[in-house]
């Protein structure tokens, strides 16, 4: 059991080496990168925007409802929304959702190419199939922090709308709250996390798709397994990075 995990981990790192060996020619790769940016990044914006706006709103309302003590200033609503959205909700929570959306898309698209021998066909032609299939995805997820940036903005904005238009606090209180104890390093920390989560989001599902065996049924199973592993790793890495960077 342990041995099997270790050998999987070894295989995962060997995959990285292979991805960067023998590059596909640039004129072809450029097109692939644009396609992946479209599929992985642009396609995710809608759902991320939707979730961020409403969850930001909910965070703000929850905070407001817990402020029963008149000694606690209303500015806390803005402050709490900012902190929870930027530190955890946008980078981590959205990434776990993306492990479902982006991850299952990656596993199933590569996995179905595996079962229909399309990957063999690439290899037989002399194409480095890992480079061809995975490299453009890794480049595309370099834009993932941009998605999370939008999520942060919309989360806070959703919080603002909910607080002000829900009658929980004045606009100026919320905006003052956003500026209390602002630590620029928290934003840096959030983007460092996001960057690493992006790499995990592309590489782990790709690994599960690429090395799967079997038929159409197994493609579905591989997607599920990939989702579980990606989210588990995101949560673990989140813990480790928080420990390393914030304490």
């Amino acid at each position: 059991m342990l041995l099997r995990y270790l050998s999987q981990i070894g295989k995962y790192f060997l995959m990285w080496k292979e991805i960067f060996s023998k590059q596909t020619k640039w004129s072809v790769m450029r097109g692939l990168i644009f396609k992946e940016i479209d599929d992985l990044i642009i396609d995710s914006l809608g759902i991320v925007a939707f979730i961020s706006f409403f969850v930001g709103g909910v965070v703000s309302i929850q905070t407001a409802l817990n402020l029963n003590n008149p000694l606690i200033p209303k500015t806390l609503i803005g402050y709490a929304t900012r902190e929870s959205v930027i530190l955890e909700f946008a980078p981590t929570f959205i990434s776990v959702i993306m492990a479902g959306k982006m991850g299952s898309f990656i596993t199933s698209s590569i996995g179905s190419m595996r079962v229909t021998e399309q990957i063999d066909a690439l290899e037989v032609m002399g194409v480095n199939s890992l480079n061809y299939l995975v490299f453009p995805k890794l480049i595309a997820v370099l834009l993932y922090p941009f998605v999370i940036g939008i999520s942060m903005f919309l989360g806070v904005f959703g919080g603002y709308i909910a607080a002000v238009y829900g009658g929980f606090g004045a606009s100026s209180d919320f905006i003052d709250g956003l500026q209390i104890n602002f630590e620029p390093f928290h934003v840096t920390y959030a983007f460092i996390k996001t960057f690493i989560f992006g790499i995990l989001l592309a590489s782990i599902p790709a690994f599960h798709g690429y090395y799967m065996k079997g038929g159409a049924l197994e493609v579905g199973k591989a997607s599920t397994v990939a989702f579980v592993w990606t989210s588990v790793l995101i949560i673990l890495v989140n813990y480790i990075l928080t420990q390393l960077l914030l304490t």
Binding site: E117, Q118, V124, M125, G126
Partner: protein
Amino acid sequence: MIEIKNIEKSFGETKILKGVSTIFEAGKTNLIIGQSGSGKTVLLKSLLGIHTPEVGTISFDGRIYSDLNSDEKRELRTEIGMLFQGSALFDSMTVSENVGFPLKMFTNDNKKKIQERVDFVLERVALVGAHNKLPSEISGGMQKRVAIARAIVNNPKYLFCDEPNSGLDPNTATLIDNLIREITEEYNITTVINTHDMNSVMEIGEKIVFLKNGLKEWEGTKEEIFRTDNEAVVDFVYSSNLFKKVREAYLKE
């Protein structure tokens, strides 16, 4: 010329190939025949390097596959055309894009030149008017022809076909067989074909290797296959009454 020596391949505990040796010559259509499950596809994929045999060597005109480094392997592979049993077309690309793919990847030809070559090979496999369709929008037989076109577009030195005419109507099947034989002769390609189709055996079997339970049971030409008294071959090849009669007639002559 491809020479294989004593190759063995297992999956887990089960040994699929149990020491197969033979020579496939250039400019000839070499056929591998045998029952379903006898290891034909595994043998072909071992030639391609998709499967790695545990024992034995495979040499491509003197280049021993297992001795090559990974760049040399990729180089060799650009000289190979392969037709997979399930066609293996890229389903996100149109017919034209599929066929032109090896050219786009490995030549510096411009779009126009690629398109001309694509049109030329598509016409050779008698497929016109499907250029802009996706593989999911054409029939299985058409997919097969697209796959053949893709396999030959780059003028390969070695051509491997896994059941090129299964699932095709007799007309198209013959057309494909003849096409493969023609280009094999024309460009002096080393062609290896897996088949269960006895028509192909009789038509284009310049060298036939009969596999049984992972072993080479028999080899010879289409003329010799009529005369052989190897029981396993006779059982397999002449299982249909029609071919039995053909054989009797042939032997009487």
